[in-house]
């Protein structure tokens, strides 16, 4: 029943123009610095089935690792998660900010609404029903596109990362044209994950309590802790704001259709008036909906992305902090061993390993965090400028509509 097929390259035009004008692809949040031409990844196509979305991942590359220069594979959300987890679990990448995994596609709300609409079909007029259906479909499509965008952003981030782009798993992900046969985590694994997280957060508190020797990291730590919380708050608030904006737009829509019904009751002067106002509201509500959608795209999605990205950065700091604690512990152990003159070599080795690990993490982490900031500033700039421009565009559109409508209405009276 639910088969949405969107060819993102061409398909955007026939969708409701949620995104079409801004970017041709649903690159909602552009968080990357310049990508070079040696490896370009995008999602060229996506297919939504009942409970899964199939993404066609399209790669263009001049790297010698790949057999061809250009190829496509079909991937599902779980495979993205697998790729992400493989990065996280790889000790080699402990010093990097692992690009946050894309959120799970969630069409439940939209689907539920559509179902409700089907149930309520009898209680509304045909026009209303059609209108509502169109709206919901548009909403569904918007969510769909956002989902696709999030997945694409993840891949682009990886492809742009100097180290991660060379990852073997990533290459397999891009090239292997069969199912990767990754499965979702089973219950036991989920429980393990849960415990790991509990331990990690408890440990995180512990680790965070340790005074960092490096001012840069000390500063980054406090900053990220605060930033993460605030961006989380802002993200939640922006969601609420946008939701009520959408509700208001929906109300205007319903008002427009009721006015229309009122206007079609007969053909008196006042009815013509109603029709005109209805027409106006119909247009303004489209603009209002666009405003809400654009705020969603430019603001909420940006914040959401940075919520996850800052979490990833925090994770990096945690890993570094952990390594630092390990290093210090190893130092202490070495001291003890020397004092007792027992297992000194072993302690020395482990101390060296810890030291190396810590230093390696610190070294790459510093660059990563600096990059993170640069990326963040650039992304915010781009999105805020676009947001302001879109707001202006919509407000001006609205203004013009209102002015011309008022002109007509006043001319009539």
């Amino acid at each position: 029943m639910w088969l949405t097929h969107v060819v993102l390259c061409q398909g955007l035009d026939d969708g409701p123009d949620f995104l079409s004008e801004e970017d041709r692809g649903p690159r909602a949040v552009n968080v990357d610095l310049q990508t070079d031409a040696t490896l370009q990844v995008d999602i060229s196509d996506a297919l939504s089935e009942r409970d899964k979305v199939k993404f066609t991942v399209h790669t263009k590359s001049t790297l010698p690792n790949f057999k061809q220069n250009e190829f496509s594979v079909v991937r599902q959300h779980e495979e993205f998660i697998w790729l992400h987890d493989s990065f996280v679990e790889n000790e080699e990448y402990a010093g990097y900010i692992i690009p946050p995994a894309p959120p799970r596609p969630d069409f439940d709300a939209s689907r539920e609404k559509l179902q409700k609409l089907g149930e309520g079909e009898g209680s509304m007029t045909k026009e209303e029903f059609t209108k509502m259906k169109q709206e919901l479909e548009a909403e569904y499509l918007a969510i769909f596109k956002k989902t696709v965008a999030m997945h694409e952003v993840f891949l682009c981030r990886v492809a742009a990362h100097p180290v991660l782009r060379k990852d073997l798993n990533f290459h397999v992900f891009l090239e292997y044209n069969q199912d990767l046969s990754v499965r979702g985590k089973n219950k036991r694994e989920k429980m393990e994950d849960f415990f790991k997280n509990v331990v990690k957060s408890a440990d995180g508190v512990l680790v965070a309590g340790v005074k960092d020797v490096d001012d840069f990291f000390e500063h980054e730590k406090t900053f990220l802790l605060e930033y993460h919380n605030r961006v989380k708050d802002a993200s939640a608030k922006s969601d609420r704001m946008i939701r009520s904006h959408k509700s208001a737009a929906d109300d205007i829509n319903r008002i427009a259709s009721t006015l229309y019904t009122l206007g079609t009751q007969d053909s008196t002067d006042v009815c013509k008036f109603f029709l005109k106002v209805s027409e106006l509201f119909e247009k303004t509500r489209k603009i209002e909906a666009r405003v809400a959608a654009d705020e969603d795209l430019k603001l909420a999605d940006l914040l959401k992305y940075y919520l996850r990205e800052s979490q990833a950065a925090k994770d990096l700091l945690y890993r570094r902090g952990r390594a630092l604690v390990d290093y210090e512990n190893a130092n202490k152990a070495l001291d003890r061993a020397r004092a007792k003159n027992k297992d000194v070599l072993q302690a020395e080795t482990s101390q060296q390993v810890c030291c190396q690990k810590f230093e390696k993490i610190s070294e790459s982490a510093k660059q990563e965090l600096i990059d993170f900031k640069t990326r963040r500033v650039a992304a915010f700039r781009k999105n805020l400028v676009e947001l302001a421009e879109l707001e202006l565009k919509h407000a001006k559109g609205n203004l013009q509509l209102l002015q011309s409508c008022l002109g007509v209405l006043k001319g009539d009276t």
Binding site: R240, T261, V270, N398, L402, L409, T413
Partner: protein, 719 residues
């Protein structure tokens, strides 16, 4: 004008006497009338069924569109459409015509005995006559009052002014002065009293009166309505000398008034006026004249009825007699609106008292050029229940007549309690403002209603300093009020099933009103929801603004931090903007809808009222039918002792039927007029308010543009 047509119409609507009856009527008109003494007349009245000749008479009386008058009347009443007049005219035609024939005749019937000449006259003209009359049964007062109270009244009035002059000169030479004096007085007295007149100004009255004295004839022709013309004719003689004047009624009238009519007809077509004046003479006297004049009369009626109170400027031209009138009532009202200035504003809501006995008092300021007020500007203080009390008074008086009385805002226990408790928060301030505005609109609607403005209670409300406290407003307020409307709606729908609607217009209008009511309710819910969402949006935007400000403060890139705090500022302003917009959603749009939902309740009530009067008429008709059957049985059984009683009953019920029918016609006409007025007001209100609303939207978009334009360079400055 073929009798067969009309006869068939009658046959369908009334009893099968029709064909048989017209000859006797002709007889009545030509022969017996000339020699008639009081006896036959009394017979006619008293024993309608027993005597051949009287039967038609009775018909005439009980069913205005009956056989005696068949040709002209029926045409008038039953087939206006065929005559080329449009549908809505039916009603207009019905009313004056039916009243015309019935009212005076009622008098005839009711007062067989001679009375003081002034009394019946008074009767016709004003209500107070009831005191003077001992004999006449009640029905006769009511119909008169009715005549006076409803639209045709205005027509009635002028003719009356003119008539006395004419009648005496034509009919009796003995007591002209009395006749003169009284009716005219009553006219003027009435003018002030009754609220029906659209124009409080002297114009209407002075003009016809003046003309009446100068040129009674013309005036008479142009303005007079049949009923009164006839009424005075008929009544005069009756009261004067019953024994002699029946002759006068039929013969002399035909000779005196008719001739003039005829002459005018032949000279020029100004006859229209004459004709309507002279429905009665027509009926009784000359079928030929009627025939020839019938269609012009229709024309005239159309126009005259459409706008009865318009003073016709040119007395002598018939074409113009009908043409000067086409101004519709509405136009007239507009003229009236132009003529005076009446601004009412409600300001300074003030809490009086403490605790649960506290109430809000409002300053009601009036500024006017209307002469009916004592001064040009005055101010009174009124509390909410006073407004409810005013509505109650107006509703009691005017709703039964089919008027749409604007309803006041509902009582809100929630809102008021908040105010009483003395919370000075936003919502209670908003509540007070909302109510103030609603009361202002309510009062403006009342004074804009030409009839209601004339009501002494309105004047008292606006002028009087010490207003007696209104009681029992509780029943009307809040839920009670809604319940009342719902009840009215229920009974209305029930009645609709029963009512065999004779007029498509009403049926369609009622459906329209109901559909509109439904849509408006729906719309209101949605606008309310929009207001709610907009408020929510405002709150959430505020929350977001704070959040962004925090984010900005923790951002360590200076330019980005600055941009974020700028964004926070923009969002702060947006919060304000959304809030203002929510307020204007609510004040401009939602309140307008709430007003009109209430008003539609009143509209439905007036339809309901019409239905009720119809029901009463039908019931009376059924009753009459029963009484007749009883009589027939008695006649058959040959029980003369009870026969008299039965006849009395019939007479009584005939009178009631006539009166109720007239009531119905009158209420119908009023409802129609009121609905048209209402629709016009509605169109005006909606246009005005929605334009205002759109302007508020426009303004907030302009603000929005300003804010974002200021922000854009900040965003671009991020580096």
């Amino acid at each position: 004008m073929d009798p067969s047509l009309s006869a068939s119409d009658i046959a369908s609507s009334t009893k099968p006497l029709s064909e048989a009856s017209s000859p006797p009527v002709m007889d009545l008109l030509s022969e017996p009338a000339s020699e008639a003494s009081s006896a036959p007349m009394v017979d006619l009245l008293m024993e309608p069924a027993s005597e051949g000749s009287s039967a038609p008479m009775v018909d005439i009386l009980s069913e205005p569109a009956s056989e005696a008058s068949s040709a002209p009347m029926v045409d008038l009443l039953m087939e206006p459409a065929r005559e080329g007049s449009s549908a809505p005219m039916v009603d207009l035609l019905m009313e004056p015509a039916s009243e015309a024939s019935s009212a005076p005749m009622m008098n005839l019937l009711m007062e067989p005995a001679s009375e003081a000449s002034s009394a019946p006259m008074m009767n016709l003209l004003m209500e107070p006559a009831s005191d003077d009359l001992k004999e006449p049964p009640k029905p006769d007062i009511d119909p008169l009052a009715d005549i006076l109270n409803d639209t045709p009244l205005s027509e009635v009035k002028t003719p009356v002014a003119a008539m006395p002059q004419e009648t005496p000169s034509d009919l009796f030479d003995d007591e002209p002065s009395e006749l003169f004096a009284e009716p005219r007085q009553s006219n003027t007295a009435k003018q002030q009293q009754t609220s029906i007149f659209d124009e409080p100004d002297e114009d209407l009255f002075s003009e016809p009166l003046g003309e009446a004295s100068k040129n009674p004839q013309n005036d008479f022709f142009k303005e007079a309505l049949a009923p009164v013309a006839k009424a005075s004719n008929v009544c005069g003689p009756l009261s004067d000398n019953y024994n002699e004047h029946p002759t006068d009624i039929f013969t002399e009238e035909a000779m005196t008034t008719l001739p003039s009519a005829v002459s005018t007809v032949s000279v020029n077509s100004k006859t229209n006026g004459v004709h309507s004046d002279e429905e009665e003479p027509d009926i009784f006297a000359e079928a030929t004249v009627e025939l020839s004049l019938d269609s012009p009369r229709n024309d005239r009626k159309k126009k005259g009825a459409a706008k009865p109170s318009a003073p016709a400027p040119a007395p002598s031209v018939s074409a113009s007699a009908s043409k000067p009138q086409p101004k519709t009532l509405e136009e007239l009202e507009e003229e009236v609106e132009d003529k005076f200035e009446l601004n009412i504003s409600i300001t300074n809501p003030e809490k009086v008292g403490d605790g649960m006995n506290a109430y809000m008092a409002y300053k009601v300021s009036t500024q006017t050029t209307l002469p009916m007020f004592r001064s040009k500007t005055f101010t009174v203080r009124r509390r909410f229940s006073d407004f409810l009390g005013l509505y109650e008074k107006l509703s009691d008086k005017h709703t039964p007549n089919g008027y749409i009385v604007p309803p006041p805002p509902e009582k809100s226990i929630m809102g008021m309690t908040k105010v009483k408790v003395g919370k000075e928060d936003n919502s209670s301030a908003e509540f007070v403002e909302r109510r103030r505005a609603a009361l202002e609109r309510y009062l403006q609607r009342v004074v804009f209603h030409p009839s209601l403005l004339q009501d002494p209670d309105v004047r008292e409300f606006l002028e009087r300093d010490d207003m007696p406290r209104a009681h029992n407003t509780q029943a009307l307020s809040g839920a009670g009020f809604l319940k009342m409307i719902n009840r009215a709606t229920d009974s209305l729908s029930k009645m609709t099933i029963k009512m065999n609607e004779s007029d498509v217009w009403f049926e369609e209008k009622l459906q329209e009103v109901e559909a509109e009511d439904q849509q408006l309710r729906k719309l209101h819910i949605m606008v309310d929801s929009l207001v709610g969402h907009r408020k929510e949006l405002s709150v959430n935007t505020g929350g977001f603004a704070k959040s962004v400000a925090m984010l900005g403060s923790s951002e360590d890139n200076t330019a980005l931090s600055r941009a974020l705090s700028q964004l926070a500022e923009v969002e702060d302003k947006m919060e304000q903007l959304h809030q203002e917009q929510a307020a204007s959603d609510s004040f401009c749009f939602a309140e307008l809808l709430a007003d009109y939902i209430r008003l539609l309740g009143s509209v439905r009530a007036s339809f309901d009222q019409r239905m009720k009067t119809w029901q009463r008429w039908q019931d009376a008709q059924n009753m009459l039918q029963k009484k007749r059957e009883t009589e027939a049985k008695l006649l058959w059984a040959n029980k003369p002792d009870k026969l008299q009683q039965a006849k009395d009953d019939i007479t009584e019920w005939e009178a009631k039927v006539t009166q109720y029918e007239r009531d119905f016609d009158r209420v119908s006409a009023t409802v129609r007029k009121e609905v048209l007025r209402f629709e016009k007001e509605k169109a005006r209100d909606f246009k005005k308010q929605i334009i205002k609303y759109l302007e508020s939207l426009l303004q907030s978009q302009q603000q929005l543009i300003k804010y974002w334009e200021a922000f854009l360079p900040e965003a671009k400055a991020i580096a």
